[in-house]
Symmetry: D2
Subunit: 311 residues, 4 copies
């Protein structure tokens, strides 16, 4: 993430969110969750402009990097090897809807901190879990990523049509690693860290409030129907959004079908409680060098609020 | 509480809130919290009109009832002894702002259910804790009740004035038994049951959602600055409001001053997160035979939303 | 509490238990719970010998101190006024079973820290709740304290006799402020701080473990039948014992009878799980200048383990 | 699991543990966790003798079954196709240390109940997670299973030797699917279900206590050093052992080395609190038609209790 005040952002993610600082330089801070042995799962980079610079995913080995390279070449997808500190072979590319992605096959190992309970802060985020990207074409994004091996666990669609409004896809065995939802995009809606329990979410909210960031909760605590996640969304000092959540479910067995939600069913968005704020629905972080396009699907303006679950 | 569909309301308070049914007749249901040895702390009465019939408080003994009777006579406050099933000596009166009150000195004893964990439902509410009344004159209400022996633990006031906008008063040793806030009144804003922990609140919200009442949460989960309560507010089938909450604090030592909050400080209302819904601010339950009056204090219409913390 | 290494004990109570340091001098550390506005609820004093120096209770006002003084004089109970920093009128006495007590009517006010969630540590103890004293004569202790106005909420007795084995007494409206149990005494078994929820207890245990004090948990987490407390007991560096607990219940209404438990019923000690360690049963902190006497009631050696619930 | 009183065991797993009954016949009960879409993850079978009949693992597809069949044939491992209701292709075999295993590639789909919060009971177990088997030869078991594709996440070994005392292996991306520990075997030590949070464990213990099974907790709540699991172990009416637990960690990245624990380090067994009961250490469920052998590794009798962490 490109941030405009590195020290301020580091403090936010360390003290208000609870991440661990693995290492910092003049212009970069490497952070990770408490249980992570990976050197970093969040990288903050000092910049003049706040942006979502890239979305990173792990692959298992160098062979996977080479297979990806071949696939991108065969399919005329622009890509390049890049050097990244503390990472093994690293490959950058844009997916067909313009999301700037980075794959790596290895990372420097750092000690897990999950048993240093005396150092836990705020929500005690354990590990990065997933990304949500707003896109102008959910169908195109979904076809690309399922073609690469991701599997759809849940999706939203409009009654009587096959149009996809949102798509939750996974590779690691629970509900989502990568989510695309309909809207002006590409923009990064949020990245999410898993926390141990509901009390962690409440404690995170309390800490955020005590630190004076109480207004930066733009949704939650609440329960999504989709994925069953108990969630809390925070805006960082550049208005990038981070989700703390838990209780999504295991999704491994191949015979289990994805769950379909009607895009007008408010329970897909929250099983209970108050709807998201407008900020949550309409604001997201742009990627560098990639124009934001209007979505292919548009809601009837008269019923927009119903679509969104805003009452 | 007067309710228009007794069975439906009983089911709501038993299954969605988690109260225990002590006893029911054709037109009345007596309920209590899990740890309560008192026969009832909530009475539902079948009626054509939904209303808050009266607010009940316990006194220690018959002597207290007699002292109250004398005090009311000496001060020309209308009052009367009434007969109530399962209650000892019972005295009804209206306080100076029209709240219909009932005091009793004794109650039939029922077995505590706090160790029947296998029967816990939803939020596992343990005991009734407090009432909040909307009144047109917070100062008058406060003077009356502190004169009767209640002690103010926290209050809201306008900067530069002594006008009281809200008053939290207690007799049992924690932050509040009776709360008055400024608005059209008298109306009962809510009654509150204490739950064991934050997880109980989240589970209550989940159960409420699973039972199809998800939209009936009109505020929370959130944390009030005032009283430090972690709260969840639900509307019952007649739109009466019940709060589930925990973590207010002990308030016994006489040298501790009450906490003052500026009525325009949004942290008084929530330390974090989204503001209350309009429903929460403006809707409440009327008392029988008591006209609702406009409040003496009125906010500048231009800044109403700021006063309320609605953004 | 007299401790032999003041810095070490301060660190333990601050970092492993989670108390706040109000103030420290060369030989004394004043601590309190997060929600407490009282200057101190735990005082550590540097000493050559680890001891429980005195058990402190609050009274409401100087009048109560004077009434106590008169009562002690009338009943030939040794007592004396003492000067204590940050306390108002303070009166020391020994109860009839040798417990060294201190009453005070006022205390310097310190800011409540309950909303400084960013500073919470370990179990986030909110306030001191009660003391448990091992005594050679539970009946004598109970008669004295109920005579002073305490009320018994629960007790243990032997089947077929009226012998009291343990007595839980309260003045503040929940199950216990002062507990006496049968054994070699007087010795202070533990003092207890209330925590917000079950997760606080688990987090406290995790923090204690992370700090290397894992073996100093000598009981719990578990649930007492008596008082319904969810508990965790820790030994400090001098082997003084502190309890973190929550969920005891309100006990105000005068018509509610105390609960009787048979001293041989293992559920009185734990509703579930493994019995206490021998350390928990037999070790406690001695008071200064007071000989420890053998208990009047003794269990049949053959069934001692059954009495204790050790299996 | 073979049980001697089917109705009693069903009630235990439904009411005390919180599993869902998918289906029952005269002699079989099929159960699953709340989030599971698989028809069953626990099968109870009426029998004259209590036994662990087999340990089941899922494979992805029929191809995996065929590959396994070929591997077993090539390696002279006794195996057979069996017919199981509600399962696809099913293959039974004994691993080299005598554990009776069953693989299946498909299962009938049942509705997930994870959002029926109103029906949650006790610990709200979400899904089966892992099995622990006591074996006479941990090394042999480990070599076999890692050869089949499992990966070791943690292990216990004796200082100065390479002898394996315990081995935690996984395939699904967190710490363990299959655990072998040294002792008289093969015997099934326990099977484990994941619960949502720490509060679920405490509530399960409370429910178990309320139902009169409080003594059937033979360990916990506590925190294992190994795998970081917060655990509670229960014995069913036939003394089969089930674990409820949460918070083990993600284990996917190939560069992360397994964690080594010295078998004499008590923190491997519990980061805090009291040691396991003797029942927990020495009792387990036998498999049919498979003799129990003495372990190859034996602790010095003088220090057995130290090895076990019993103090």
């Amino acid at each position: 993430m490109a941030v405009t005040d590195l020290a301020k952002s580091r403090d936010f993610y360390r003290d208000a969110v609870g991440l661990v600082v693995t290492e910092e330089t003049d212009d970069t801070v490497y952070m990770r969750g408490l249980e992570e042995a990976a050197h970093h799962s969040l990288v903050l980079e000092q910049s003049d402009t706040a942006q979502a610079r890239r979305v990173g995913l792990r692959v298992r080995s160098d062979d996977d990097i080479r297979l990806a390279e071949k696939f991108f070449s065969d399919n005329n997808i622009e890509h390049q090897r890049v050097e990244r500190a503390y990472q093994g072979a690293t490959l950058q590319f844009r997916d067909p809807v313009g999301t700037l992605m980075e794959l790596t096959s290895e990372m420097a190992v750092a000690p897990r901190r999950m048993q240093r309970y005396d150092e836990f802060k705020s929500g005690a985020p354990q590990r990065i879990d997933h990304f949500q990207v707003v896109t102008y074409d959910v169908r195109k994004a979904t076809d690309f990523w399922t073609g690469l091996g991701m599997r759809m666990s849940e999706y939203t669609a409009e009654d009587g049509t096959d149009e996809l409004w949102g798509s939750w896809m996974e590779i690691k065995g629970n509900t989502h690693d990568l989510v695309f939802t309909n809207g002006r995009g590409p923009r990064l809606h949020h990245f999410a860290f898993a926390v141990p329990d509901a009390t962690s979410l409440i404690h995170a909210a309390d800490v955020v409030g005590a630190l004076g960031f109480g207004n930066e909760i733009d949704r939650g605590p609440g329960r999504h129907g989709i994925s069953n996640a108990l969630f809390l969304y925070l805006r960082d000092p550049d208005q990038h959004r981070v989700e703390l959540f838990n209780t999504h479910y295991q999704f491994i067995d191949l015979e289990t079908p994805p769950i379909r939600w009607d895009v007008t069913d408010p329970r897909r968005a929250q099983l209970w409680g108050m709807p998201a704020s407008r900020r949550w629905f309409f604001e997201a972080s742009e990627f560098p060098d990639e124009p934001v396009r209007e979505p292919l699907l548009t809601a009837n303006p008269d019923t927009l609020e119903d679509y969104l679950g805003i009452h």
